[in-house]
C-alpha cells in the first residue's frame, strides 16, 4: 500500500513536470512571436526616426557651409584674406575640420594640403557643375590621411559669382551629430552609391575606422532578404529614389534592417542607416530569458517544496504507523498489531514445524504500583518488555496486551526443553531487577504455553490453550510456567 502511494506521487510529479515544460515552451514560443512582430514594427519606426535624425544632421552640416557663404556673400569688402581669418576662428565651435575659400580666379585660401587635395580631386571643376552646394565623394585627405568629404558653396554678389567657400568634414561627423542614446552603439551609418555598389562607413566598426570604402559585391552573395524584401529590389529603389526605402536581411547569421535617405548636392549618393535587428530584439530576448529563468526557478522551487512535503508526510506516516502498532510505554507490539503480525507469520511457517504461544503475566504487579508508585511500575514493565524482546530476539514476537500481561508467539521451532531453559534464564534476570533509585525489587512471573500443532490446530485454539495453562500456573501459586500438554 505504501509502495503504490510512492509510485503515484512519482507519476504526479512527472505529469507536473511535463505540464510545466509544455506551458514554458508555449509561453516562450508565443513570446518569441510577439517579440518578432513587435520588433519588426518597432524597428521600422526607429529606423524612420533615425533616418530623419541623420537627414537633419547632414542638413546641418550643409547649412553651416551655406550660411557662412551667405554671410560672406552679403559683405561688400571682398577681402578674401580677412574672410579667411574670420572663418578660421569658427573652427573651435563648428563641426567641420577645416574651412577655406576659393576666389574667382581660382586662388585657394587654405593650407597647402587643402590646395593639393582640391587640385588633385578636381573639386573646383566638379563644383562648377553643381547648381548650388557641391558635396564631394569621400577621398583620402592629404591633411588628415583619412577619407573625408568636402562641401563647396558658391559666393555670389548681385547674381555674379565671386568665388566659393569650402569646408572639410570627417565622415564620422554625420554619425556624431545624429547620435542618440538609444541604439547609438549599434546603429551604423554609411554613405552608399547604389550605381557603383560602393559604400563608405561613417562610423568606426570594430577595427575598421570611419571613412573606409567597400563594395556591396563583396558581401552580396551572403545577403538574404527577409519578409519579401529583396535586396536587389531595394538597391533598385535607391537608384530610383523610390519607396519603400527599407530592407530587412540576414548576413552571416545576423539580421539587419536598413533604410536610405537621399542627399541633395551629392549626386547618386545616399545615406544608409543600418540597425542590427538582434540588438533591439536582444533587449527583448534578454527580458524573455529573464522570464524563462524565473519560471525555471519557480518549477525548481515547487519541486523542492513538493519533495519536502512528501518527505514530511512520509515521516508522519511512519510515526503514525509506529503509534498505531506499538505500545507507547514499552515499544512492544500492541494487541492489534501483534495479532496481525502473528497471523502473517503463522501462514509462513513450514508444514510440520512447531510453534509456541505464550501468555505471560507479572506476579503481583498491582502491589508494585501501590507500594512503589506508577513510575516504578512503568520501570518494571519496560524491564520485562526488554527482557522478553531480548529473550525471543529472532525467534518470536512479543506484545504488551494490557496492564501487566504480555503475549509471545514463538515462531521458531524451539523444543519444550529449549523454552524451559529460556524461561529459567528470564526468571533469573528478573529476580535481579533494581529500580532506578537502587531499590532491589525481585520480579517473578507466571506463564502458560501451548504448542502447535500438538495442542491445537489453529491459532485461535492455540491461544485458548495457552490461556488455560496460564490460569493453571496462577492457581498453582504463581512464579512458574505451565505447559498445556501437562495439564490436559
Amino acid at each position: 500500500m505504501n509502495h503504490s502511494r510512492t509510485a503515484s506521487h512519482f507519476k504526479l510529479l512527472i505529469v507536473y513536470l511535463l505540464f510545466c515544460v509544455f506551458v514554458l515552451t508555449s509561453v516562450a514560443a508565443s513570446l518569441n512571436r510577439l517579440i518578432k512582430r513587435s520588433t519588426s514594427a518597432q524597428i521600422n519606426n526607429i529606423l524612420s526616426l533615425m533616418s530623419e535624425k541623420v537627414d537633419t544632421a547632414f542638413g546641418m552640416m550643409v547649412d553651416y557651409v551655406t550660411e557662412a557663404a551667405d554671410i560672406i556673400s552679403a559683405d561688400e569688402t571682398c577681402n578674401f584674406d580677412a574672410y579667411y581669418d574670420q572663418l578660421q576662428q569658427t573652427l573651435d565651435t563648428m563641426p567641420y575640420s577645416s574651412i577655406g575659400l576659393i576666389d574667382s580666379e581660382g586662388n585657394i585660401y587654405g593650407t597647402n594640403g587643402e590646395k593639393l587635395d582640391i587640385e588633385k580631386q578636381e573639386l573646383i571643376e566638379k563644383a562648377e557643375l553643381a547648381d548650388s552646394i557641391y558635396i564631394s565623394e569621400p577621398y583620402r585627405s592629404s591633411v588628415t590621411g583619412t577619407n573625408m568629404i568636402t562641401m563647396i558653396a558658391p559666393l555670389e554678389r548681385g547674381g555674379q559669382k565671386i568665388g566659393s567657400l569650402y569646408a572639410n568634414y570627417y565622415l564620422e561627423t554625420i554619425q556624431n551629430l545624429a547620435s542618440t542614446n538609444i541604439l547609438s552603439e549599434n546603429t551604423f551609418v554609411f554613405l552608399m552609391n547604389p550605381f557603383s555598389g560602393n559604400y563608405v562607413s561613417c562610423s568606426a566598426n570594430g577595427s575598421v575606422p570611419a571613412g573606409t570604402w567597400s563594395n556591396i559585391r563583396l558581401i552580396k552573395s551572403d545577403i538574404k532578404g527577409l519578409n519579401d524584401y529583396d535586396y536587389d529590389v531595394w538597391l533598385k529603389n535607391m537608384r530610383e529614389n523610390a519607396e519603400p526605402n527599407l530592407v530587412n536581411y540576414t548576413l552571416k547569421k545576423a539580421t539587419y534592417t536598413e533604410a536610405y535617405v537621399g542627399i541633395d548636392g551629392m549626386k547618386n549618393w545616399f545615406i544608409v542607416i543600418q540597425i542590427p535587428l538582434a540588438e533591439l530584439s536582444g533587449t527583448m530576448h534578454q527580458y524573455a530569458w529573464g522570464v524563462g529563468i524565473c519560471a525555471a526557478l519557480l518549477i525548481f522551487a515547487t519541486l523542492l517544496l513538493a519533495g519536502h512535503l512528501y518527505n514530511s508526510e512520509r515521516r508522519e506516516n511512519v510515526t503514525l504507523q509506529d503509534l498505531s502498532e506499538h505500545d507507547p510505554l514499552t515499544g512492544l507490539y500492541n494487541r492489534r498489531a501483534f495479532d496481525a503480525h502473528m497471523q502473517d507469520i503463522f501462514k509462513e511457517i513450514p508444514q510440520g514445524d512447531i510453534s509456541t504461544f505464550m501468555f505471560f503475566d507479572i506476579d503481583k504487579f498491582k502491589s508494585v504500583n501501590d507500594n512503589y508508585g506508577h513510575d516504578a511500575g512503568d520501570q518494571v514493565l519496560c524491564f520485562v518488555a526488554d527482557a522478553l524482546a531480548e529473550a525471543f530476539d529472532g525467534t518470536g514476537i512479543a506484545a504488551r496486551i494490557g496492564g501487566d500481561e504480555f503475549n509471545v508467539f514463538i515462531y521458531a521451532p524451539l523444543t519444550v526443553a529449549n523454552l524451559d531453559d529460556i524461561l529459567a534464564n528470564l526468571r533469573r534476570n528478573l529476580k535481579n531487577f533494581k529500580l532506578e533509585d537502587g531499590t532491589t525489587l525481585p520480579i517473578s512471573f507466571c506463564a502458560g504455553l501451548a504448542v502447535y500443532p500438538q495442542d491445537a490446530h489453529d491459532l485461535k485454539f492455540l491461544t485458548k490453550c495457552a490461556d488455560e495453562a496460564l490460569y493453571h500456573a496462577k492457581e498453582a501459586g504463581r512464579n512458574d510456567h505451565h505447559w498445556y500438554h501437562d495439564i490436559s
Binding site: W213, K220, L297, G307
Partner: protein
Amino acid sequence: MRKILLSASAILLISVLFLCGCSAESKNSPQNTAESTIYDFEPVTKIKDGQKNIYVVLKVMNSQYWQDIIDGTAAAGSELGCNVYVGGPSGEGDWQTQKEMLDRAVNELGADAVLLAPSDSSSLVQETAEIYSSGIPVILVDTIVNGESYNTCYMTDNLQAGELAAEEMLEQLVSKGTDEKEELSIAIQITSTASQTVIDRLAGFNQYWAANAPENWKVLDEVKLNNGDKEKAKQNCLDFMAQYPDLKGVFGCNNSSTVGFVNGLTENNRNDIVLVGFDYADETAALVASDNFSASTIVQNQYSMGYEGVKDALDVLNGKKSEYKFIDTGTVVINHGNYREYEAEVDKK
C-alpha cells in the same frame, strides 16, 4: 524522492547551461601566429659616424616590389647623408614581428627615425603612436595605419588607382571598336576581402565605371578571391570565361589576380577580352608586350615611397615638419603603347 530531486536539478542545470550556451559566443583566437624568419636589420648605405640612423621595417623582404622600396631608401640615404638599415619578416601579415622590430630599433638600436610598411592597419596603431609621441619621426610607406599618430604616409591612392584602371579598361574597349549597345560583362578578381588596398582599388574601379561606362557594359556582381594563390587565380579566370559568355574585360586588383588572368587568357587564347591589372610581373609584362592581346597594367611608384620616406624623415629631424599626412606617390598605366619607354626607364634605374 532524492532521485526525483536530483533529476529535477539536472533538468534545471541543463536548461541554465543551455541558456548560457546560447548567449556566449566563442571568441576567435587571434590569427597571425604563423612562424616566419626575420630578416634582421642590414645596412643598405655606407654607415658613417655622426650621421642620423634611419630604420626601415617592411612587410616582406623577398620580392622585386619591396626591393624597389629598399633601393629608394638606399638612394636617399646615400644622397642625403644618413645611415639606413632595412629589415622585416619573411611572411606577409606578420605584424607581431614588425612590432618587435620597431621596438628593437627604437629602444636598443637607437633609431633617430623609423619607416614602416605596416602589415596590419589596426594592430600596429598603438606601437606607432607610442613611438610618434616620444618624438621619433614615424614615416609610413605603402600602407597606412588607422588614426593620425604618424608623420606622413607615402603610398598609392588606391581609390584613384582603381579609377585609373576603369578608365583604361573603357579606353581599350572603345579602341577595340566595341559597340556601346553591346551587352558585355567585366569580371573582377581580388586576393582577399581582408586587404583594404585591393578593396579601395575595386571601389575606385566601380566608382569610375558606374559614372562613365555605357549602360550595357556591366561589372559582374560576382567577385572571385584567390588569397594570393596564382593557380587559384588562373582557375578563377577559366571559371569566369566558362560562366559568362559575354565576358569582354577582366580586372585584377593586385599582382596575383593579374597573373591569374594573364595565364587564363593565354591558355584559352581569349584575345577578345581586355585585361587591366596591377604590377609588372614577368607574365603580365609579356602579355602587355604581345601584339595579339589588349593588356594594360598599373604600376606603382614604390621606389619613390622609399626615397621620399627617408627624405621626409631627415626633414623632420632637421625641424622641417611635413604639412601632409598622406602623399600619393602616383601610378602609371603601362600598355602596349608605352611599355618600351617604361622598361627602358626601369633599366636605367
